[in-house]
């Protein structure tokens, strides 16, 4: 974690960037009008870095990830902006070429391990198919590699499991299989969309630990979408906090979690129950994430913000660097002071 932090402080050379997202906008077209889900998001991801994207439900986290993978239905979602993966704009790629990117250069694991595997196909088939397609491996090679992968993700009796069907596995085991499939073609980037949300708490930490070990071993980059700040602090190097389709704060995990500058980030952190605060009422952020169909003037967070002023109701704050020494950015007119000054 410290090395990654040093990386940020020094600033990365351009060729170290695996992924560059510039002014990404996702708009859902519905019968009731257009709903902007992501309203201009910029971020960079260096090789070997783990980036966490946090925020409440409906903040545009998943929409960002799904648009990277071209998984949003074209007829109901408009995607604008540039998404450079190793310098190539994958946003503009036709589906045919995108198939070679998906699974091979970047892979994704999903929120619902219970339903992410096809119930009618064996685990083995589903595990081997991407390798056969992307790597052109034969039967024996895929078999061998599949067993290795299953062992790597901590599944015992791999050969037997491969002959079985998804319903024979628990949720945690299925998520392990999904991770194995995602890793099968050595992607440069793994996108994990709330990979532990649907799992038991004990299984959650096992899966995160597994992801962390694999990430260290392979050196791939990871974008992990979560609303569990525990996951962020355990696993990620950098964090992006999203609210209503915009990035409101970003920086290294230590900096953001230890000294949140944006009122929203602060609210999120304050909402975590503390085991020592016995009997105290849990803090929440009043109100809800605004409906994407409604238009809010100024800063999207102002209706829920404790520090709002007239300015917040009129203008949208830009995401700006606030420290000369780090890549820390905040989009707020009245950010909190750095932690050490509090």
């Amino acid at each position: 974690m410290t090395s990654a932090r040093a990386n940020i402080a020094e600033g990365q050379p351009a060729d170290d960037r695996l992924l560059s997202v510039r002014d990404l906008k996702v708009t859902f077209l519905s019968r009731h009008g257009t709903a902007p889900a992501v309203k201009g998001v910029d971020f960079d991801l260096a090789r070997g870095t783990v980036l966490a994207v946090v925020g409440e439900s409906g903040c545009g986290k998943s929409a960002t990830a799904m648009s990277l993978m071209h998984l949003l239905p074209r007829r109901s979602a408009r995607i604008e902006g540039r998404m450079l993966l190793r310098g190539r704009d994958i946003g503009a790629l036709p589906e045919r070429e995108m198939n070679d990117v998906r699974g091979k250069q970047m892979a994704m694991i999903f929120q619902e391990p219970m339903t992410s595997l096809n119930p009618l196909l064996t685990i083995g088939y589903q595990l081997r198919e991407p390798m056969r397609y992307h790597l052109g491996l034969g039967r024996e090679a895929t078999q061998r590699r599949a067993i290795e992968l299953l062992e790597m993700v901590g599944i015992p009796a791999a050969e037997q499991i491969m002959r079985g069907y998804p319903h024979q596995l628990s949720g945690g085991m299925r998520q392990r299989v999904m991770i194995a499939i995602a890793l099968s073609c050595d992607p440069d980037l793994l996108i994990a969309d709330e990979p532990t949300t649907a799992l038991d708490v004990t299984i959650q930490s096992q899966i995160i630990e597994l992801l962390r070990q694999i990430q260290r071993r392979t050196g791939m980059s990871v974008i992990i979408i979560t609303h569990d700040l525990g996951v962020v602090s355990e696993f990620a190097d950098e964090v992006i906090v999203m609210y209503a389709g915009r990035i409101v704060e970003s920086g290294s995990v230590d900096e953001v979690l230890e000294g949140p500058r944006h009122p929203y980030t602060r609210g999120l952190l304050a909402s975590i129950p503390d085991i020592d605060d016995e009997g105290e009422r849990l803090q929440t952020i009043p109100g809800n994430v605004p409906n994407p169909l409604s238009r809010i003037s100024g800063c999207s967070f102002h209706p829920r913000c404790v520090r709002k002023t007239e300015q917040c109701e009129q203008a949208v704050p830009d995401l700006t660097a606030i420290d000369a020494t780090s890549l820390r950015q905040v989009a707020c007119f009245h950010p909190y002071l750095p932690a050490r000054e509090l």
Partner: protein, 274 residues
């Protein structure tokens, strides 16, 4: 659950009996269905006065044994029913899955064709076809197959659209699966239960359609023994010799009803909610 199983067992038994009779028609039928014996014309069935067990269901106006004609006629009815269902299922499922998965212009073209053809009367289409190509066994299958594909297209379109959003399909796409692979490997197998039920029920419908077309003289031309032809021949003698039309009518009703009972049983049995 038990009701569903009972329907399947009853339906299966009767269908099997009819199919076996059709397959072994030359062995089962007491007479040659095409042998005309003018002296023995219009003999009533055995339970009516003047009838005998020699012609259990009586004879028609040419003195042909009706039971034998029914038995041989079942071959054609079943064959046409099954073959046209296979044909329309192939066309309809391909169209429906493509429309549902690809969407956009493909969907518009396919589904609007479905709408257009649904609005077009089947019989008119059949008349057009037969007028252009002539009535024959093969043409009958083609006509029925082409007039019935919309049912499958509609149902498979809807199912595919909802399947496309299912997490495992999305996951397969995210691992780089091509459209053809996704449709064939991930979507089609999920459609099989529904397809089985619809196809079973459609076999009954197609048999009915075949009878209707033959009755109108648009099927396999006489003297071929088909249920529709027997029905048509009996029409002229309805008051004098009602057993001719009745026997074919009852045969059609029994077979279609049995297929429907079987199909409904299958649907209930395959329904995860029951």
């Amino acid at each position: 659950m038990t009701a569903a199983k009972a329907k399947i067992v009853i339906g299966c038994t009767i269908i099997l009996a009819i199919v076996l009779t059709a397959i072994f028609a030359p062995l089962v039928a007491p007479h040659d269905p095409y042998q005309q014996q003018v002296i023995l014309r219009l003999k009533p069935p055995f339970w009516m006065t003047g009838g005998s067990l020699r012609f259990p269901l009586g004879t028609d106006s040419y003195g042909r044994d009706i039971l034998s004609r029914l038995i041989f006629g079942s071959r054609l009815s079943i064959l046409v029913g099954v073959a046209s269902v296979v044909l329309s299922m192939l066309i309809g499922t391909t169209a429906g899955v493509l429309a549902g998965y690809v969407g956009g212009k493909t969907e518009e073209v396919i589904m609007r064709t479905v709408d257009a053809q649904t609005a077009f009367p089947d019989v008119l289409l059949a008349i057009l076809f037969v007028a252009a190509l002539g009535g024959s066994f093969l043409n009958l299958i083609v006509v029925l197959g082409i007039s019935g594909w919309m049912v499958y297209a509609r149902i498979m379109f809807g199912l595919t659209r909802s399947l496309r959003e299912r997490p495992f399909v999305e996951a397969a796409v995210s691992f780089g699966g091509r459209s053809g692979y996704i449709m064939l490997r991930h979507i089609l197998p999920q459609l099989v239960p529904v397809l089985t039920v619809v196809a079973t029920l459609q076999v009954g419908q197609m048999i009915l359609q075949e009878a209707a077309l033959s009755f109108l003289g648009l099927g396999v031309p006489p003297p071929a023994a088909t249920w529709g032809n027997i029905l048509a021949e009996g029409r002229d003698r309805l008051f004098l010799a009602p057993w001719i039309a009745n026997s074919a009518g009852i045969a059609i009703v029994v077979l279609v009803l049995t297929i429907n009972i079987f199909g409904n049983g299958l649907r209930e049995w395959l329904d995860p909610k029951s």
